[in-house]
């Protein structure tokens, strides 16, 4: 007994959880069963600290075809087509081994999307690292970017957008969230539920090895600390070529109607995919580990059941179609093996030839993990550090240039040029040319736009308001390209939820997410939770990464960031009330503290609708949402993108009570920077600020007025490549 106790603790189960398992089984689990329980009852698989909170999120909507619980969410885009999408984290593997960690993160999210029968058409990613003056951060950035590029480029799916922030609290625990978008014929979509007693269970794709045993599930369910080097063998190794064959193979199988259901093998490998398929279908599954193709002959049954070897899928197939299925696998040179059968027993049985080596009720294994209530407590004050990087007496010109050169704001060209952004011939707006990625869908005769956002620093200042802002920023980005939101997915990256402060952040952030989605009438169609993101110095910034997909009728009517023609008017639209709290300037000055102004969601939603209609009608020359670095940075970005200077007077913001500094660099949701015909902009209700022209960026803001040469501003904004050279 004492040895058993030590073992379950080693595997991350509490004594109470172990006792519950014994109770549900009516006996102590054997080693195979214990290994399987420990993974499915881990935070990563069971969402035991977050599931209760997630019930607050609105998931219903007219266009929703698949919601939470499936491999990916899906919305109807018309014409008989569906867009599937999902974001998932691969944070801890990437912090240990960035190249493979990020690459397999992309591989995993692609499988989630083609598991429902959708062809992946785009990847986006959301990355967080420590400050770039740290060698570790540069190493993690370099590895993660190369890993994402390696996998996405090789498999022929374009990486069309994303975001990167650099903040001290991510120094030890970087974040790598990957998003995939897929397109499916609605009639060909497939769910993950196993069905049909007597049907065969077929494992397809790569063989099973010892790589990644307990990788995602173990790494993602505990804090990072000393000795992470020793965890390297738990990081999985990706092979995009294997996945490319598997993808084409699965889509051909689904297109021919040969599969009853399909599920990818991700965290906890066969254990979770078989368990989840059985649970969703209300059936049992018998699996024979002796029939699993192995890389190493001497693997133990428990190793086979928990291996996280990549590029594998599990399918349920009618017995008389198995030969056809295997023939198509052979054509694509991808492995296939009939390893089990669907039963009516309600049990997951693990066999090795004729011997039963494990037998557990599906209900206990998949849905039996206790769900915990959080014990939230607001912190007394700012719990993260403050490091001044900007001199107190800096001139407004220096401040603007410092902000433009700040790695979180500067051009990410160094990053996105390493990604194939164009394969597939759908990419209407390449990275940094518009606020959202735009992909044409000739099959459905329209287009979609995608945005991914989440400023952890602002969420740290106020988890509720910061998360609302992240949702609003996505909605604003979509509006700038004329898109109307269809659905939202998210990845909640937080620290250890057993700590009261993190629990409070999580609780408030989920409420913000729920309220913002409710107010915008955008359903949450899926999500992912990544907890225990902590290093020796404490938790990361609470980072809900929000991704929104929208629809637009005509991809030819899409506004870009860059100002229009010389002489065009520049105007501000929306309920923009900038404040320095939580801003990039406050960070640079080392003045971060708790608190953000509360956004007016209804007013922002109304402004989004106005901008969306104006863009669709071709009424504006450019549209850019005001975000990091405030209006001054938004103006500079639009000017740099156009290669044109501008003269802007911020008096209208001063009239709203803003100080010159707040008008220039204050942040907050709700602001749209537009250019175009003056009368047209005025008729939209936008407030004129100035006009396009010249070779300088002139911003009039009382005693903080500034003039910066366009080339100087562009040089600062493009300085990331030099920093990383």
């Amino acid at each position: 007994m004492s040895a058993g106790v030590a073992k379950h603790r080693e595997l991350g189960l509490t004594d109470a959880e172990f006792a519950l398992i014994c109770e549900k089984l009516g006996r102590e689990p054997n080693d195979v069963e214990l290994a399987m329980f420990s993974l499915l009852w881990s935070e990563h698989c069971a969402y035991k600290h977050s599931r209760k909170l997630l019930r607050r999120l609105p998931t219903e909507g007219e266009r929703v075809l698949m919601g939470p619980g499936e491999n990916a969410g899906a919305v109807d885009v018309g014409g008989g087509f569906a867009v599937a999408f999902k974001v998932e984290s691969h944070n801890h593997p990437s912090a240990v081994e960035p190249f493979e960690g990020a690459a397999t993160g992309v591989g995993g999210i692609l499988r989630d999307v083609f598991a429902i029968g959708a062809r992946p058409i785009a990847i986006l990613d959301s990355l967080r690292f420590g400050e770039l003056d740290s060698a570790r951060s540069r190493h993690l950035l370099d590895g993660a970017v190369r890993g994402i590029g390696h996998y996405g480029n090789s498999i022929g799916v374009p990486t069309v957008g994303g975001e990167v922030y650099f903040e001290e609290p991510y120094e030890h625990n970087c974040l790598v969230n990957a998003m995939c978008i897929g397109l499916a014929r609605t009639s060909e979509m497939v769910r993950a539920a196993a069905a049909g007693v007597g049907n065969a269970v077929v494992l397809m794709g790569a063989s099973t090895g010892r790589d990644g045993i307990g990788g995602a599930s173990v790494l993602a369910s505990a804090e990072l600390g000393e000795g992470d080097e020793a965890k390297r063998p738990t990081v999985q190794i990706g092979d995009p070529f294997e996945e490319s064959k598997l993808l084409e193979c699965c889509l051909e199988l689904l297109g021919k109607g040969l599969l009853v259901s399909l599920q990818d093998l991700g965290a906890a490998g066969l254990t979770s995919s078989a368990g989840e398929m059985a649970s969703a279908g209300g059936v049992g599954i018998d699996l024979d580990v002796a029939r699993v193709p192995l890389r190493e002959a001497d693997m133990e049954p428990f190793e086979i059941m928990v291996s996280e070897s990549q590029e594998r899928m599990l399918a349920v197939v009618e017995p008389d179609r198995v030969e056809e299925v295997r023939a198509i696998c052979e054509k694509w040179q991808t492995g296939s093996a009939e390893i089990g059968v669907v039963t009516g027993s309600g049990q997951i049985r693990v066999l090795k030839d004729d011997a039963v080596v494990g037998e557990m009720p599906v209900e206990a294994l998949v849905d039996g993990c206790p769900l915990y209530d959080l014990a939230p407590a607001a912190p007394e004050g700012w719990i993260y550090g403050n490091r001044a990087m900007l001199d107190v007496g800096a001139s407004p010109e220096d401040e603007l240039l410092a902000l433009l050169a700040a790695p979180s704001i500067a051009s990410k060209r160094w990053v996105f040029e390493q990604y194939d952004a164009i394969v597939g011939s759908r990419t209407v707006r390449r990275p940094e040319s518009a606020d959202a990625a735009v992909l044409q869908l000739p099959e459905a005769e329209n287009a979609i736009a995608v945005s991914i956002d989440g400023n952890g620093r602002r969420v740290a200042c106020d988890p509720y308001a910061g998360t609302v802002e992240a949702v609003l920023e996505c909605a604003q980005n979509l509006a700038c390209v004329g898109a109307e939101p269809l659905g939202l997915t998210n990845c909640l990256n937080f620290g250890n939820p057993e700590k009261p402060t993190t629990a409070w952040q999580l609780d408030r952030a989920v409420s913000g997410l729920a309220d913002a989605c409710e107010a915008l009438a955008v359903p949450v169609v899926g999500g992912n939770v990544s907890l225990y993101n902590e290093g020796p110095d404490g938790p990361i910034y609470p980072t809900p990464v929000v991704a929104m997909v929208g629809e637009l009728p005509d991809p030819r009517q899409v506004a870009g960031i860059g100002f229009g023609a010389e002489g065009d008017a520049i105007a501000l639209l929306g309920p923009f009330a900038p404040a320095l709290a939580g801003s990039e300037l406050a960070k640079q000055r080392g003045e971060l503290a708790m608190g953000l102004p509360q956004p007016d969601v209804a007013a922002v939603a109304a402004a989004c609708a106005k901008v969306r209609e104006a863009v669709r009608a071709g009424l504006v020359s450019s549209a850019h949402d005001v975000s990091d670095g405030g209006l001054a940075c938004a103006v500079a970005e639009s000017a740099i993108a156009a290669g044109r200077g501008c003269r802007v007077d911020l008096q209208p913001l001063r009239d709203r009570g803003c100080s010159p500094e707040e008008a220039l660099f204050g942040e907050g949701g709700g602001g749209f920077l537009l250019s175009g015909d003056l009368a047209t902009l005025e008729s939209l209700g936008a407030v004129p600020l100035g006009e396009v022209g010249g070779t300088t960026i002139e911003l009039a803001a009382g005693d903080r007025s500034l003039v910066v040469g366009l080339a100087t501003a562009a040089g600062a904004w493009r300085s990331l490549a030099e920093l990383l050279a």
Binding site: R146, P240, F416, Q418, V423, S425, T427
Partner: protein
């Protein structure tokens, strides 16, 4: 249009062929019969995962044997990116493609200077020729050949495309972006003309590459 396991751009190139007025179909890498096919495109991607070296495995495929015969008969062959690498590996085109100088994958819209067949490339690197705006995206696109081969290629008009001055993204020798064989019927280039056929997604300058292949342009 050849299709290997690991090809990425074959569907885009198929679409480009049809826009250019051609009639195109996919040829699976195990097919040997190219009868009835006027022109072959070897598309971009990562054939067979590009293990070992880009294009090094694909050259041994059954379809590539047929392509070699097709080329020997003087019929047109176009290799794009990975297809260019495959044609070089197969010895159908001179030279080799090495890792980019920056050792990183690069995806970038850039300008090419085209030297149509029959015009020997001007030694001053085509300052007067027309420029095509076409994207490149590759990690192994640095064109390399021995100096005397490069001299010979330039003399005999075998340099089909060059990167416009200052736009060489990968350190290719003499800014070479694409070459043709001595007979002129086999052409390979690193940039992707199939991703330059629609004003909505970029430019339309790539169309002429396919029109030339389809015989629409001389």
């Amino acid at each position: 249009m050849l299709q290997f396991p690991g090809s990425c751009d074959e569907r885009d190139a198929l679409h480009a062929c049809s826009l250019a007025g051609g009639e195109a179909r996919l040829v699976w890498h195990e097919e040997r019969d190219l009868s009835g096919i006027d022109a072959v495109v070897v598309p971009g991607g990562f054939s067979y995962g590009d293990y070992l070296r880009a294009g090094a495995i694909a050259r041994f495929s059954p379809a590539m044997e047929a392509v070699a015969e097709h080329a020997a008969a003087g019929k047109p062959v176009l290799g794009i990116c990975n297809g260019f690498q495959v044609l070089c590996e197969a010895g159908l085109l001179p030279g080799a493609l090495l890792r980019n100088e920056g050792m990183r994958f690069v995806c970038r819209q850039l300008e090419l200077v085209e030297s149509p067949l029959g015009t020997s490339s001007p030694p001053e690197r085509g300052e007067c020729a027309e420029r095509l705006s076409i994207p490149a995206k590759h990690g192994e696109g640095r064109y390399w050949a021995p100096e005397e081969t490069l001299d010979a290629l330039e003399r005999s008009g075998q340099v089909a495309y060059r990167y416009a001055p200052g736009q060489n993204p990968n350190g290719s020798a003499r800014d070479i972006a694409g070459v043709r064989n001595e007979a002129g019927n086999v052409v390979g280039l690193m940039p992707h003309p199939e991703h330059a056929v629609d004003p909505l997604t970029g430019s339309t300058d790539g169309l002429r590459v396919f029109q030339r292949l389809a015989g629409v342009l001389a």
